[in-house]
């Protein structure tokens, strides 16, 4: 046995070693390619982002175009993985040489970034340059601002919309939902589709996702927390158990009971499953981020229908808030570097870049002039329903309830909202599920305020 092994080593040691050396060599060469060094004479602006897949390709193109457009700065994009973990990385690396000059951070980290005092509000540069922000979507801007100060610039932005399989509706002779449907209208459509297809097609689903529940509150002009959802002062009280949340969950409960609703759970797997089912003609309606339009229109002959986020019966739709992420400027880098970061932010907001961004990713163009570009006109010609999310965004007038919830600890809040939703989806009592969430959220808020000395 030992002899055999020794002989084996003798024969194969050199080739194995050679393979190792080659692998290491490749890894090293690749590694040094990505090293963060700028071209001579340029100020490096390290840019942390969380864009993967097609969005990463599109973002790299914007960066490339920016670097070619001038010779003063060099933006160096670095992918940092998922949003949640990136927040902690950004905060923990602040003040070290490894920290970024410019970073992308997601919607619900806004209050955390604001309170960390680790960033320079972009308002400073807006004022210095007299930069006109009026072309940029107001409801997106208001999400990342506090008391008139723009903290960060919205970048990749989406809104939840209602998707429906228009081909299936036609096939079974069911009237499709209107442009801005009410809860009962969606229920009617889902039920008819389920019955007329002889239960072959499930009517609808709504992912167990705190964001969607918060948007239901926003669309009904209801606050989740006091002090204007945190926009007028530091929040001290959370009130998830309110009539609007109850109405939303009762609506879902009605559909679960009549059998037309299908539950795919929460998280990325739920999104994958609902899209797979939708494309396989097994699901008629679902509510999800507008960023999925691309996936829902490629490789399928089905006609995609899109409506606004549904609103409770008898309540005028207030317009939903946005989701996605914004671009922030770190304050631990020299003024020149911060200026470079701002120049890049401005570059991302141009009508042309925003239009190309929407076409490539499904995120919404924030610049209102993007709608006039050929890129988007061609897109709408090909997929007429792709126009709807942009209209929903443009029609939303910002107020405290649809400008996001400006509170620290939103990640945990989302978790607790989701647990409440899961309880209800699995047949639990709505009132007690919401009370449980409220108790835990308020306890957490109290600890947060105590730890932060507020």
């Amino acid at each position: 046995m030992m002899k055999k092994f020794a002989a084996f080593v003798k024969t194969y040691a050199l080739p194995i070693f050679a393979v190792f050396a080659i692998v290491l060599g490749i890894a090293f060469v690749n590694g040094s390619k990505n090293a963060s060094t700028a071209k001579a004479g340029r100020i490096p602006v390290v840019f942390w982002n969380e864009m993967g897949g097609p969005a990463e390709v599109a973002l790299d193109k914007i960066v490339d175009d920016f670097n070619k457009s001038q010779d003063k700065y060099e933006v160096i994009p670095q992918y940092q993985g998922a949003y949640d973990e990136a927040v902690q990385k950004i905060i923990q690396s602040h003040g070290t040489s490894a920290s970024p000059a410019l970073f992308q951070s997601f919607d619900i980290s806004t209050a955390q970034m604001m309170h960390s005092k680790y960033t320079t509000p972009v308002q400073k540069f807006i004022d210095e340059d007299n930069y006109d922000t009026s072309d940029i979507s107001p409801v997106a801007r208001s999400f990342y601002s506090n008391k008139g100060t723009q903290l960060a610039m919205p970048f990749n932005t989406s809104q939840p919309v209602l998707y429906y399989n228009a081909s299936l509706f036609k096939k079974y002779g069911v009237t499709s939902p209107s442009k801005s449907p009410s809860y009962s209208e969606v229920t009617r459509a889902a039920k008819e589709l389920y019955e007329k297809s002889h239960h072959k097609v499930k009517g609808m689903t709504i992912e167990i996702y705190g964001w969607l529940m918060e948007e239901a509150l926003a669309n009904a002009h209801t606050s989740l927390i006091n002090n204007g959802d945190g926009h007028t002062g530091n929040p001290t009280k959370i009130n998830l158990n309110n009539p609007t949340t109850q109405k939303f969950l009762k609506w879902i409960r009605t559909n679960i009971k009549s059998g037309d609703f299908v539950n795919y759970g929460s998280g990325a797997s739920a999104e994958t499953n609902e899209i797979a089912a939708f494309l396989a003609n097994k699901l008629g309606i679902f509510v999800q981020s507008s960023a999925y339009i691309g996936q829902l229109t490629t490789g399928t002959k089905n006609k995609l229908g899109i409506s606004y986020f549904p609103h409770p019966d008898g309540v005028k739709a207030n317009g939903v808030g946005i989701g996605g992420a914004a671009l922030w400027i770190s304050n631990d880098k020299p003024a020149k570097t911060q200026r470079g970061a701002w120049e890049f932010i401005k570059f991302t907001q141009t009508a042309k870049n925003q239009a190309a961004w929407q076409k490539a990713t499904g995120y919404l163009a924030l610049n209102k002039n993007s709608q006039k570009t050929k890129i988007l006109k061609d897109l709408y010609k090909k997929i007429p329903s792709a126009k709807v999310p942009g209209e929903q965004l443009a029609n939303a007038k910002p107020n405290n309830t649809n400008s996001g919830i400006l509170m620290e600890g939103m990640q945990l809040t989302r978790e607790l909202e989701q647990t409440a939703m899961e309880t209800v989806y699995n047949g639990g009592n709505i009132n007690s599920a919401l009370n449980t969430a409220d108790t835990a959220m308020n306890a957490n808020l109290k600890t947060t305020n105590k730890a932060d000395g507020r």
């Binding site: 499953n273 396989a280 932060d452």
Partner: protein
């Protein structure tokens, strides 16, 4: 009656005793002079330094963090003593996580060992073509956590998954595998067992094939049934290996993270929110480092207790 190997070779324990006392004698004579001490530190120093920086310092820091509240940027602000621990141990949420973890760990360990034994027993028979089965049974060893999770997610898919299609054909009720709290727990257990099985099978098979054939021959002459042989020869003979595999599986299951993250994210209604996943979420999702630190300390104590218990209880029953 059959004798166990230890009883049949009474000289073994004596010889061990002897070597032990020899070592003790040598140690007594062995004293360190100044130069030796210098060398001792020089050789131990690097490993002590590495242990200190990467093990002891983080442990002490974790303990320290667990006694404070942490602010937005993760810095300690208010000293709260043991209140993080008290809050955790009185929160129904955390206690349910603890219960869920224990259920998962024991279910996984018991099922993995049981199935591993059955498969290893089948594959230990010398039959033509058995190599194919041995390869098949141990095949899951080469599957990474993410691949396993995605593979099973496809099977559990409520609309297009294999299980859903199969139950439609057979006119059985549909089980919402990943969205019903009880079913989700079993979905995760099944996937974990499936993943662990290859390794467990291989180790147990190795142990079984090294059991002396003379024992089975003697048993055959005495007319013992194959079932009797399995419980009275195979199991006692491979008990050291069983002990090893059960410890490894138990501790690995406590640390289970990847599958949970990819399959359920701790849901639905926290039904699969295991202790390790909870720590990760509290620290790196919520930025609540103080509470996550307290949870880490509690988990460390639990794992240490189980390891101790297993060594104390199982060691006595192990037949070396």
């Amino acid at each position: 009656m059959l004798k166990s190997p230890a009883q049949s070779t009474p000289t073994t324990p004596l010889s061990v005793e002897k070597t032990k006392s020899e070592i003790a004698d040598q140690e007594a004579k062995f004293t360190l002079n100044a130069k030796d001490k210098y060398f001792a530190w020089a050789f131990l120093g690097p490993s002590l330094l590495i242990l200190g920086v990467f093990i002891f310092y983080p442990m002490v820091k974790t303990l320290y963090l667990s006694l404070f509240l942490t602010n937005t940027v993760g810095k300690t602000t208010v000293f709260v003593g043991l209140s993080n621990y008290i809050n955790l141990l009185t929160s129904a949420d955390y206690l349910s996580s603890l219960g869920v973890t224990l259920f998962y760990v024991f279910a996984v360990t018991i099922i993995t060992i049981a199935l591993g034994l059955v498969l290893a027993n089948l594959a230990s028979k010398r039959l033509p073509g058995i190599g194919i089965f041995r390869t098949l049974f141990s095949a899951t060893m080469g599957v990474s956590v993410s691949v396993a999770a995605i593979f099973w997610l496809f099977i559990f898919n409520p609309s297009t998954g294999f299980l859903s299609l199969a139950s439609t054909w057979l006119h059985l009720p549909q089980i919402p595998w990943l969205t019903d709290p009880t079913a989700a727990m079993w979905a995760v257990i099944v996937t974990t067992v499936w993943m662990n099985l290859g390794f467990t099978f291989l180790i147990l098979l190795g142990a079984m094939t090294s059991v002396p054939t003379t024992l089975y021959e003697a048993a055959n002459i005495e007319g013992a049934s194959s079932r009797f042989q399995f419980f009275h020869i195979t199991i006692p003979s491979i008990s050291p290996t069983l002990f090893f595999v059960s410890i490894i599986t138990l501790i690995e299951s406590f640390k289970s993270f990847g599958l949970i993250d990819l399959m359920t994210k701790g849901g639905p209604t926290n039904a699969t929110n295991m202790l390790v996943y909870r720590i990760y979420k509290d620290a790196f999702y919520s930025g609540n480092y103080a509470q996550a630190s307290a949870e880490s300390i509690i988990l460390t104590i639990i794992i240490a207790l189980f390891t101790l218990l297993q060594f104390k209880v199982l060691e006595k029953r192990v037949n070396y």
